[in-house]
């Protein structure tokens, strides 16, 4: 790792892997770590030792990423594992998500925070059901970039025709599913072609290697095109506990900016009260700031003494989102027990937890036909549309436009389990599923 030279301004890219089981994901991740020199000698020794014990010839790089004992015993990846590597140009966090059907919830988890999804397909097999499902998940979760690695290109004799055919198929599927930006690269994870270094075996491909592509992807959203959204996490009022007497009367609102830019003097509205005031100062432990932007963690002080609590949202006065108790949402259902209409749940939206009841389960998404099938339950791994009624109003915005303030999770009030990833609005329509038009399906 030559990462000591990583400049202070270098950015961090969050990746999530996806793909069907056996398409070569573990091998690819192992290869990325190995070729970017992020695997250290003792880790490699352990992998070589285990590979030998299993009677393999070389080191099985997939072992680098298969962490838990059960996985080692069964030879499968069962849970999201996080990997870290850096090049001289950028730092990466990689959420390695297992490919079994029953673990789609892991893909949802990994994709929720990802700047890019790396989706593997086996060049021999092409697009499988699970590939489409993962494309749909990436699209629904509005992951800004999807990079499809057409793997095992060595097993189709480095065929330019096969790659072109698959690339066209991927583009068509991505367009159907509304994937924001799609990139394709022919690779062999096993041999290393086009993973870190460009390969001589694919002279017909003149694009970047997978790693080069990832190094150059733009990261984050354009905060200047957004309006301030600041969910309050904690109210800071040290009073008598202040370590510095000058802060006895301090009152600040601490949180992480979800969207937009804020400056002292900006006019803001506090939701749900609707009270208007001005930003007096933006505080940090390192001193006040002249401006702050998403996703910085800061503390805002306001000109007026308004009653503000955790769960409130401070927003730009010139773009105040509507408050609503009735939410149409897309759910990725992650619970073992099915969801039914009438069920009571908790909804965590930004920093607020509210009670809710499921008014209606409208239907679930059929990924093969890419349209909504009417139905009244959602089972584990289903993605569907529901109507929720919340116990108190929240500034829920369309997820398609607001990846932070449009997201929520559904929690079981009885046992505290996380039941679903929720996206406000008709994310299915936003993802342009062909059969999913209002005419087909009136809500």
């Amino acid at each position: 790792m030559s990462t000591a030279t990583l400049p202070a301004s270098a950015t961090l890219l969050r990746l999530a892997t996806a793909g069907s089981v056996d398409d070569g994901k573990s091998t690819l991740v192992g290869r990325l770590l190995y070729d970017s020199k992020s695997v250290l000698a003792d880790q490699l020794d352990a992998v070589e030792r285990v590979s030998r014990d299993r009677g393999l010839d070389g080191a099985d790089l997939a072992l680098l990423t298969d962490g838990l004992r059960a996985e080692r015993e069964q030879g499968i990846t069962i849970d999201v594992a996080y990997r870290y590597f850096a090049t001289a140009r950028r730092a990466f966090v990689l959420a390695d998500c297992p490919g079994h059907v029953q673990y789609t919830r892991n893909t949802v988890t990994g994709a929720s925070t990802a700047d890019a999804v790396v989706l593997l397909i086996d060049a021999r097999k092409g697009l499988l059901e699970q590939t489409r499902r993962h494309l749909a998940v990436a699209s629904l979760l509005r992951v800004p970039h999807v990079v499809v690695a057409v793997n095992k290109i060595d097993l189709v004799d480095y065929s330019a025709e096969r790659y072109a055919e698959l690339a066209a198929e991927i583009r068509a599927a991505s367009a159907d599913l509304g994937v924001p930006a799609i990139h394709t690269v022919p690779v062999s994870a096993l041999v290393g072609d086009n993973v870190v270094d460009r390969s001589d075996a694919t002279p017909w491909y003149d694009g970047p290697s997978l790693l080069e592509l990832l190094e150059d992807l733009p990261v984050g959203e354009d905060v200047t095109a957004q309006h301030l959204r600041f969910p309050v996490q904690v109210v800071l009022r040290p009073q008598g506990a202040a370590r510095d007497p000058q802060h006895v009367d301090y009152r600040g609102y601490a949180g992480q900016i979800a969207e937009g830019v804020v400056r002292p003097g900006d006019e803001v509205v506090v939701l749900p009260s609707g009270k208007r005031t001005l930003v007096e100062a933006i505080d940090t432990a390192d001193g006040p700031l002249a401006e702050a932007f998403a996703p910085q963690s800061v503390t805002l002080r306001l000109t007026d003494d308004i009653d503000i609590a955790r769960g409130d949202t401070i927003v730009a006065a010139d773009d105040v989102p509507a408050l609503t108790q009735d939410v149409t949402a897309t759910l990725a259902w992650l619970g073992e027990k099915p969801l039914r209409a009438g069920q009571r749940v908790l909804v965590k939206h930004t920093t607020k937890v509210v009670q809710a009841v499921v008014r209606d389960v409208v239907g679930r998404l059929d990924l093969d036909a890419a349209h909504l099938v009417p139905g009244d339950t959602l089972e584990l791994n289903d993605i569907g549309r529901v109507q929720l009624r919340l116990a108190s109003p929240v500034p829920a915005e369309e997820y398609a436009e607001h990846r932070r303030t449009g997201a929520f999770c559904v929690i079981d009030p009885a046992d505290g389990l996380t039941l679903a990833a929720g996206m406000v609005g008709d994310a299915l329509a936003a993802a342009r599923f062909p059969g999913d038009r209002p005419a087909d399906f009136a809500i």
């Binding site: 790792m1 030279t5 040290p238 506990a241 601490a254």
Partner: protein, 314 residues
């Protein structure tokens, strides 16, 4: 990286946070969420660099208010004296309440037995869990990083522990966006890991940027050491040579520690890194992981860490 070293770093566009700023913001967000949603949080503080960085972040998260929770130290009785002195000075400086869970007390009254190999790290679990239930702590901040070890790579930022303090790796809650679900039943608690996404190098870069003081043994110094199992152990009251070969290897070397733990099983590395910048350069070119180099207890088996975590270890 051979292919890209001459290429420029991807420059942050205006209004893009650098990777350290992003990690800092994420950690502060996590710390504030836990404090807002739990009744009695506490922070595990050993004086080791990760816990020091975590405490620094906590102080920033609540400024100008004080850190709103106590710190817990599991004292194996085999600690480096300079680390204990550092711990006490930090507690004093930040006006914290310190809860000490003492492994020695457990050995003295027979609740725990000394192990044949003399290692006390595995003995920390019981005192830790007792301190958590005794303090009725419902959330405990730990400095664990996912880059440390394979089992940790799957740990959630908020990780539920049952009433016995156990971790069930097969039954973890999905963690979506930055919406952390801290619901738990009475008797259960949650471990919170604000540094989940940091690497060893990130921690050091942050220590440099923020000018954070650490116990001196993180930097190169002379020390009397001997060889055991391919590690350099300090000659001290809790770690003396046991065999002739070990005794024959005793010598003074310039070393530093990459992790700070129990003297009896934490190895030093040969190093002449006397400043943070030296350490960063060294860490960036090292070929051995932090734990592989310095922790005897993780070498017990392939799955040593996973087994201890399931039982409620840090």
């Amino acid at each position: 990286m051979t292919t890209t070293t001459d290429a420029p770093a991807v420059q942050a566009a205006p209004y893009t946070l650098s990777h350290l700023d992003l990690l800092e913001s994420e950690a502060i967000h996590i710390i504030r969420e836990v404090v807002a949603e739990f009744e009695r949080p506490a922070l595990l503080f050993s004086g080791g660099k990760d816990s020091v960085v975590m405490l620094h972040l906590a102080a920033k998260a609540f400024w100008p208010a004080p850190v709103p929770f106590p710190v817990v130290h599991v004292d194996t009785g085999h600690n480096f004296p300079e680390v204990l002195a550092y711990r006490d000075a930090e507690v004093e400086r930040l006006g914290l309440r310190l809860v000490v869970a003492s492994v020695q007390d457990y050995l003295d009254d027979g609740r725990l037995q000394e192990r044949a190999d003399g290692t006390r790290n595995p003995l920390q679990t019981q005192p830790l869990l007792d301190a958590i239930s005794g303090g009725r702590f419902d959330a405990v901040f730990g400095g664990g990083r996912r880059d440390e070890e394979k089992a940790r790579a799957k740990e959630r930022v908020l990780s539920l522990r049952d009433e016995f303090g156990q971790w069930d790796p097969r039954n973890q809650r999905p963690e979506l966006w930055n919406l952390y679900n801290g619901r738990h039943r009475p008797g259960e608690h949650v471990r919170a890991f604000p540094l989940s996404n940091w690497t060893e190098l990130d921690v050091w870069r942050y220590i440099e940027r923020e000018n954070i003081a650490l116990p001196g043994l993180y930097y190169a110094h002379e020390r009397e050491v001997f060889d055991r199992d391919g590690m350099l152990l300090a000659v001290g009251p809790y770690s003396a040579p046991r065999t002739d070969a070990e005794a024959a290897s005793v010598r003074t070397e310039v070393v530093r520690y990459r992790t700070v733990g129990d003297m009896s099983c934490t190895g030093a590395v040969s190093s002449d890194a006397t400043t943070v910048a030296d350490v960063i350069a060294e860490v960036a070119t090292t070929r051995i992981t932090e734990r592989g180099a310095t922790r005897a207890d993780d070498r017990i088996s392939e799955a040593a860490m996973e087994d201890r975590k399931k039982e409620g270890y840090f």
